[in-house]
Symmetry: D5
């Protein structure tokens, strides 16, 4: 399947997914276009499958940071290829998930996973990937791990803070900050 | 240019670069094939250019962790599209670089940067990307940042530790560890 | 995606899926090749998604006929694009499913749904389709419904009986049975 | 021959056939466009050939249900690749066919059989297939059998009733009917 | 459909059809290869459809000449795209056909009609064409009429006689017979 | 050479040839377009070559019928690949040709012979073919013989009469004349 | 039609034509291969058509030189696209042709005219061209005229003499004869 | 190199060459377009190379006829692939060339030689060819010789005279002049 | 990579590079378009890499001639594939470079090196090439050496002088200056 | 015309040309293969045309250095697209050329000029280019000038000396000579 691949430094094509929204206990939809219109950052956290043991730990860890990320202007979306029905049941029956308030999106066709290069065609599941898109729609950070090395939600907060700061103060970025004569 | 793109979970095609080896004060070569033959992990740290201000901070930070990474079996390689001559001069004249002992590789043709998707064709320089390849040659971790958000060398050590542990103990990985009946 | 489409009267290409086996409370695999090797008929019952209201009714109805179908030599497989994890949880938490003993297969890549022409590329889910494959691997019956008109498991048993009978007594089939002079 | 294949859930391209109309004892034409214009459902019943033994039984069985189907808004069409001349003679000389009042269509070019995937290119005859198209032209049900397992006209009536009901009451369909919280 | 077209003076590719054989009151098969093996000429008489008014007149007329044609070594085959079942019923119920003893072939796929260029793709029926193939398989005579101008079976006998004579006495053929000096 | 092939039942593309006109003892041109404009039928009689023995017999025979054919509205054209010069000399020196009054056309490029499928590319000569085109330009009759079986000009007159009659009385044609109920 | 074009200085592909041989009053065949085998030169004289006024003058003129050309080892062939039958009649009825003893070849398919670039596809006739092929099969001289400017057979004899001489004495040819120092 | 090839009877595409003009002792340019504009005939005489022994003989011979050719309206051009510089030196140092007044053209790119089919790609030189183009730009005569058989300039004059006459009196040309009845 | 290749005598496509300008101790940009707009000649001097031993000798030698070249209207640009950062450090730390005032350009993508055919794809470095472009943008001189044979900056000055002179006095150029009669 | 283009640093494909050899006053041939076999360097000096004013000055200048170049192992070849005949006459009549002893080659087809990128397709002449090929066949130096800036034969000698020296002492080349630590 010939899919465009999002790459760091380029704009991400629009995408849309059905969701379960734990905050309202209801189904919904989420799209990059809407988040950009709202002037927010998009944080995508891909994981392989609902109803597995290690994954909820990561998602619970992420729940602990969801307020800080929201304060930084981020719309956090956890994504797997499960349906919104499975998302709802898992969220509401798995104890570790009880504080999750961020969006749980259903990439049932795998289209969004393919867009970010984390679709595993052998299993139909997503690899563990974290992506940050700025309010203008540019992909500014990507991270993908093959094994479940435990994504550190605190580290994600730090990256968001740095990105927010650098977007507001571009002159501090490297190498632009550097001026002839100042060094050597 | 039609380049194969390395992807997480797949084997990385072999590559070779000329290097400056601060540990010996001499030039050399490095190849994935040789590192695999030595049974080691490959850690690639791409940065845009020698002789700039922010970059040496990251590389100095990495120098502080180079012994821990070596102990974990990692061959650390910092890569830019500068020549080995520029690498040598920068290493030996820039104070922040004085503890750097890891390999400084010259991707003068940009071939390796293209392989990992961090070549910026507009400038001919590499984006900031960190990649971990296991001793069998499989890419197990990728991270790319558009802005210089300050890569945390400590976090890199943590990822290496987790990867080394999970490779040795695959049954603890998610979702393989999970067994029917143990949860729900 | 260019997929071969199984058609009535032709042999079905081999396929394989991961499964949850309620009969053993464990995970497994199922393949057409193995069922053919066992000399059995394959009955595939596609449905859209786990954790929905109407669907379990159909599957419960099918559970009531599962012994008759087994007696006719049929290996019954219910298939959706959910994971085996979701299948297990649904089977074990949904009351209507408690008698289900047949295989629940996870077509997470959608490959098998595509093979039988029931993959809905807009949603990533399977349409309601029932297929009967004889022990030699030939597709002998197909039925697909767009709305949930309530598949009648009793009718499925009747079709299996007729197919089993006609395969054993081909001369009774139409038009082969008909001989010149006997009619008109 | 590259033919579009009608698929469940999609609109069926228009088609037209010459017919024998037992109700008027005369020849005619039938087209999907005309039936849609009349606001009716189209029910297509393909069979291999006129003047064979088993087939008239099915068609006689269908004749018994023709009034119920008409009452549900269905225009029933039995189709083979025989000519309208053969249809007329068969209808008027075969005792089992004497109650048949529905349209007998002549797919002499095989075009309509190919459209529904039931044309057997080895023999030039149609496989046994039953198809229901709703008044908007969408294919909502397909059923094809390789052997003559005896299509049950009563079952066809049941499906028509369900389809008519669900088209009028879409909210009762699965999974749309299902609402968060109502179940689990 | 890319079909080879038989042309006068060239060898005809082999073909095979199912038949009704009035001489034995049974079904059978006929192939060009078998007729050639028997050392006979093949005479193909295409007509549009069974159960029509004008056509049986032609076929009855042909029946009157069937013995003469047989004596000349010809295997006569009347061909339409109807089935062998329709052929049998027509032969046995239509009074004008009662003396027909030659083969009635069922070109249900239209392949043979296409081979001789008489398949009308708009109706799926054959045009009125008469073809003579010599025992070596070469097409020596073709005649096609759009309207039913009444093929004269006596004329067909005359052509067969001439062909048989000229094949046995090639030196009498024009222009080979003609020798320099004999004329002008 | 990719040439359109005229086929029975279809319109014939326009063509033009140089001619010798025995009626006026002069050269001329003939085209299908002109004959159609004159409201006449076109009768084409192809033969291999001027100055041969058997051929003039056929053409003399045709001369005996030329008045009847003219009365039926036919423009008769005898065609070979010889030049108009050869046609004139042959007509005026060969005794058997002395009554010929119809057009003798020179298909020197072979284009018209190719159009009707009678060009023999091995010899550059035309096969013996007779074609009737109605005043609207549709090919209604074709006849081609490999050997010189002696075309019967009387039979050609009969065919012309039948075609003229059927074109004027289309309802008598088969199968259109046949009406339901009138037969069986 | 993609035909190889013979060019001066290159070998001519083999060709064969049917002929009328005035010397024996009989038909025959001529081929380049046979003439080469006989160690002779081939002289081809193309003309448009038999039975025309100016052409026989040229051919009569050529007849006057036919013995000289034969003495030089040339096999002279006059070629038009007429048949051998027309050639014979023309030779034997036209007074100007009565001394013609050389071969009259029938290029009825136009293949040889195309090979030498003198086929006029608008008329199917050959342009006036004269060609000399040496005993090894190389085309050594070509001459083509659009109008009938009167080819001078005496000039043809002169060219043949020169060619025969130069082939036997290649060192006298220009520029090979010329040696450094001999001139300037 | 795909070059258009001029052919007898067709218009010649325009061409232009640099020249040495012996008549004025200066350099210049010549083009077909200019000669046509002047209402003149173009006579092209190709030869292999300047400064060789045999060639000047031919060119001296041509010089003897240059006035007659001019009187007939011909612009004579001798062409080789040498430069205009070599042409000037040769013309002014070679005694045999001293009467040459016609144009000496430099086909240094070989384009004009290719157009007339006389470019020898093995040596980069032109074969001996003579071509006559009428004032309308149509090629009416071509002659090419492989060996230096001594082109006869007198013969060229005769051809020019005949062409000029026939162009002015087209009705005398063969076969147009010939009228039915006048001959046979 | 399909790149246009600049060739002597043709216009050079526009190009742009980032630079270090020793004259101002600052970074900048240089483009062919800007130099042309300023009415100046462009002199490009490619060299393999900064921080090597032999190269600075050449560049120091060039520095000695930079004023003469400027006086001739030349904008001198030394080019390697190093960054502007490396250029600045090298210029300011290497003693041999201390008089360099001309532009040091960074062809980091290799695009300009490819345009002039001096990009070595095996090493990503530029070969030693010197190119002169006139104020109209035409490449008038190219010189490339594989080994470091020591480019002579004095010779470059001489070439510039000659080019400037000939551009101003085109009639002195060879062969234009040469006139018929003046020589031989 | 798709020609391989020789490039500095790569091997030159073999080529061969006819020559005039002033040293022996005779014609000959020269090929790269033969010069390589003789262990010599090849020096190619292209110029536009014989018999022009400025060019002989350059060639006379080259004649003054021919002995030094021969002593360095170089086979010097001056090349234009003139014939060997023109070369001989020019050499022997032009006073400035009287000391020329090196090979004068005739690139009459332009093939060698195209190989070195100095063929001007508009004029068919060669640009002024000088090329040095080492005894192994690698092109080590190229220089092309659009205007006749006066190639300095002394500079050519200097380049040859440097190339000969560096080929014998590769370690002195830049940047190979440079060793880590020796500089900075």
């Amino acid at each position: 399947m010939e899919t465009t691949l999002a790459s760091v430094g380029s704009n991400v094509p629009d995408f849309e997914m059905e969701t379960y929204e734990p905050a309202h206990g209801d189904f919904g939809k989420v799209s990059l276009a809407d988040i950009k219109k709202a002037g927010k950052w998009t944080v995508l956290v891909f994981y392989p499958a609902d109803f597995t043991f290690v994954c909820p730990t990561e998602l619970a860890d992420l729940a602990d940071q969801q307020e800080k990320l929201a304060a930084l202007g981020a719309h956090v979306i956890a994504v797997s290829t499960d349906t919104k029905f499975a998302h709802m049941v898992w969220r509401n029956t798995e104890g570790l998930m009880k504080n999750v308030k961020y969006t749980l999106a259903a990439d049932t066709t795998g289209a969004v996973s393919r867009l970010f290069g984390v679709y595993d065609s052998a299993t139909g599941l997503a690899l563990r990937g974290t992506f940050i898109i700025n309010p203008e729609g540019k992909l500014v950070s990507s991270e993908v791990n093959f094994y479940n090395v435990g994504r550190d939600a605190g580290e994600l907060v730090r990256k968001m803070e740095a990105n927010v700061h650098l977007m507001a103060n571009p002159s501090e970025a490297c190498p632009a900050k550097w001026t002839p004569g100042s060094k050597t």
